[in-house]
Symmetry: C2
Subunit: 209 residues, 2 copies
């Protein structure tokens, strides 16, 4: 059984947090195989055997990190609700997602790394929890389309495009900065992105005239 309460010490709680924070930094920058236990241990300010006292295997750290990530990662989509104006709902979903890319870029990159490598460790979750949630929200969006509140399109691809455009600013951050240059690549780029995305998803590119 074993599954209930891990019964942890104060020190264990603190140190495990410290390790997970360090591991997020290292894993998100180097991927799973590209990261070493030594790197994580050093980033957490402890020795390798000491780290391995709290997490017996490297994979355990990654797994714990992933489990925590997914809850916070899907939160914005969970909030997408049937109440309120559809267009406003979608706009604030886009804004929330963009804020997550701005405030939690490491989490975004950790997730991107995992998916890029074929999602070997979270595939069941993608086909289960994630698919269920997306199908559910796609149904909500379809309702809006039937009611004539938003244009008719494919709700699944709409969700993909929101994910892609917002996460791009976290996952491809270095490229965005390189292209925009030191001036426009500065702090304001997220506001620019928000303005652009709002217009794109609202009106597209066709001229108003």
């Amino acid at each position: 059984m074993e599954g209930s309460a891990p019964r942890r010490t104060r020190i264990q709680q603190e140190k495990r947090e410290l390790i997970l924070e360090a591991a997020l930094e290292v894993f998100s920058a180097n991927g799973f195989r590209g990261s070493t236990i030594d790197q994580i241990a050093e980033a957490a300010g402890m020795s390798k055997p000491n780290l391995l006292y709290y997490f017996r295997r490297k994979e355990d750290i990654h797994e714990t990190l992933m489990q925590r990530l997914l809850d916070t990662w899907l939160a914005p989509l969970r909030e997408l609700d049937d109440i309120g104006d559809p267009m406003t709902e979608l706009r604030s979903y886009i804004r929330r997602k963009l804020e997550m890319a701005r405030d939690f870029p490491r989490e975004s990159r950790l997730f991107a790394n995992e998916i890029l490598q074929g999602a070997p460790r979270i595939m069941p979750m993608l086909e289960g929890e994630l698919k269920t949630l997306v199908d559910e929200k796609a149904a909500v969006i379809k309702g809006w389309m039937r009611a004539g509140k938003i244009a008719r399109t494919d709700p699944w691809h709409l969700i993909f495009s929101i994910w892609a455009t917002t996460q791009h600013y976290a996952d491809f951050d270095v490229q965005v900065r390189a292209v925009l240059g030191p001036d426009r690549g500065g702090d304001g780029r997220f506001e620019d992105a928000a303005r652009f995305l709002e217009q794109l998803f609202l009106d597209g590119l066709k001229p108003k005239g």
Copy 2:
């Protein structure tokens, strides 16, 4: 100097191609640090020392692969031209990019891997060649906006959004398939994506009424 003609044998040319093809497969699936010379050698059907006869270091393979990639990768944007109807130009740029995601997913993932890890090996190219090209095309797009041919927005973020939405179907392929399920995740998903993206970039989501 040394920079001019490498003067290669027929066998050298063939084997180097073989190695690069194998390396693309391995690197794109596992990232640079996650891939081993042995894996690449086996995929190329030769022994490790034999591979190292053609490329002295693991990094040399990666570098060669990257240099080749960038030319083909930026080709669609280079084609974006001032002649012809702006809206049509943009639409066919999006289609070309989506076709690249469909036909060259390994190249897309190789690139994504490199950027995700902070672009340690191609940063100069991003700040040089890439930025120059994007700035140039952004100017073209700005011209279209001034002429009232397309709606006024930020051309740079427009380009980012096209990159993000199209490459998403290569880089996050497993997630897209998992969410769409075996039926809708099949061969037709690229046509669905094309239709959706066309509408998004053309008209946005606001209802027609």
